[in-house]
């Protein structure tokens, strides 16, 4: 029950990320993901970086061998899609802080845009290793979000971790009624702790090994949850309560390995 879509547009976003846009009228919500089958290659979970209307999108980061390989596929390539799966970001905040690390911003962008359209205030703290790797800063700015940047090498914005920017922003009492975050789990853990310290509810989108995406095979088990159906978005409080969060994940065989 997958469907076939052709990649209409291939947009290189940064040296290591590319966005595929494709026509797919199936409704989707910010935070949800699809299983993307590259025929002749793997099938991977990918968050929808564009959830609106009939033209959806995913943003693929070169991480391991597969994601590197499939980055190269040209426009016109037909891929299989299942989903959307998983839960969504609740579009209730009126003063939202998003904290994105690397390609994690792709997960946050569609929801941030939706809230902006709705008149909410959105501030973004976006981090990357280097200036060229900064993702979706312009996209979010043109949606009317205030964006602050951080790079590990100082080539753009704050020199250092994006969590430091987030900490500062969260220091202004009452400024935000919610925080969304996506990125490396160590980063998300820091954001979660900072948000807890300020009493702001936070939500993080996490990744785990996925096979069925249907809540059956247990590949994505995270404590008592299944990321494919109970997630990928979890309250930060839930994540902080999980011994595996930021520490371990399961490999394809089900073995616990360090994140």
């Amino acid at each position: 029950m997958h469907r076939i879509v052709a990649i209409d547009r291939r947009v290189p976003e940064t040296p290591s990320t590319v966005t595929w846009r494709f026509r797919d009228p199936t409704p989707a919500a910010p935070g949800q993901f699809v299983m993307v089958w590259v025929p002749g290659d793997d099938e991977l979970p990918m968050s929808l970086s564009y959830t609106d209307g009939e033209t959806k999108g995913v943003t693929v980061k070169a991480m391991g061998a597969t994601s590197r390989r499939i980055q190269e596929i040209p426009p016109g390539t037909r891929i299989g899609i299942r989903g959307p799966y998983g839960n969504r970001f609740a579009l209730t905040p009126r003063r939202l802080l998003i904290v994105g690390g690397g390609s994690g911003t792709a997960v946050l962008a569609p929801g941030a845009e939706a809230l902006r359209r709705d008149g909410a205030e959105v501030v973004g703290a976006l981090g990357a290793t280097t200036a060229a790797e900064m993702l979706f800063a312009e996209r979010l700015r043109s949606a009317g979000a205030r964006i602050e940047l951080a790079t590990d090498d100082g080539s753009l914005g704050h020199a250092g971790y994006v969590t430091e920017v987030a900490d500062r922003l969260l220091g202004e009492p009452g400024r935000f009624d919610a925080v969304w975050t996506c990125g490396p789990e160590v980063m998300m853990r820091k954001v979660a702790l900072a948000a807890r310290a300020r009493g702001v509810p936070a939500f993080g989108s996490v990744e785990r090994q996925m096979k069925c995406a249907l809540g059956m095979c247990d590949a994505c088990a995270l404590g008592p949850y299944h990321v494919c159906v109970d997630g990928p978005v979890f309250p930060a409080e839930t994540l902080l309560g999980l011994s595996e969060f930021g520490r371990s994940k399961r490999d394809p065989s089900g073995r616990l390995v360090p994140v």
Binding site: M1, L44, R82, K211, C212, D251, G254
Partner: protein
Amino acid sequence: MADLAVDLAGLSLRNPLILASGIWGESGDSLSGAWDAGAGAVITKSIGSVARPGYPNPTVEPLDPGGMLNAMGLPNPGIDEYPAEIARAREHGVLLIGSVFGGTPEEFGELAGRMAATGVAALELNLSCPHAEGYGTEIGSDPEDVAAVVRAVVRQVRIPVFAKITPNAADLPALARAAEKAGAHGISAINTVRAMAIDPELERPVLAHGLGGLSGPAIKAIGVAAVWQIAEAVRIPVVGVGGIRSATDVIEYLLAGATAVEIGTAVATDGIGIFGRIAADLARALDDRGVRRVGEIVGRARRGFAVPSAEAPTPGRGAISRSP
């Protein structure tokens, strides 16, 4: 209220609804979750001697109508690592059945011994591993292979052993009888049915492995037939598996001769709450027909049933049933 408890080869189950192997079976927390959701027992995923990542994705494809196709490739962390998950579930008080798979009777025996040592209450032998990749047969399709595996296992352990039968064989009763004679304490039937999907647009198999196994409602009638045939052939209890999604489905399996049932794919389509819902519906359904204990209806569809001849018309075949 009808009593849902069943005795399954000496195991006391609070209800006859067992989590099938390969579903929610990777982590101790998930096994515990299935138990908390109301399962009468839970079966681990099938564990082998070494860690296997399984096949690459796509490993699963939902099919219309009512089918689920998968070729996971028996991913599992291996018997060295897995006991930690079992320990976690045991701490939680879960009634656990350990599933193992191997390529030879010796490997099965060794794995069974190590699995039993983790403290599981019973074993299920997954006899559906390919004999040799690329050929159509499984170790479980030959009665002698099945007997050899079961013999090797029962020598190693003192807990009940269930042989899980493949439907991809000609003579299921013969397989079950072989397992029984070799000392198995129960038969589980069925595993997934050999099947495949090809994407008509991309002109290639959907699953990375090409061939896969069909589960879900599409195979329910195949599983019921297997239980019906096997229950007639053996005296040990039969556990029915395949396509169960409702209390009515459970009743159909019980009537065919199953002492208990396993539920797999329905966890994907209906959520883990399916265990609680079916248990409640089953109790109500048994009450409605004036049944006090689940066991009363096991095999009851055989009452008054006789196979007619196709060679000449048969007159009245058995009793007429009235409403209660």
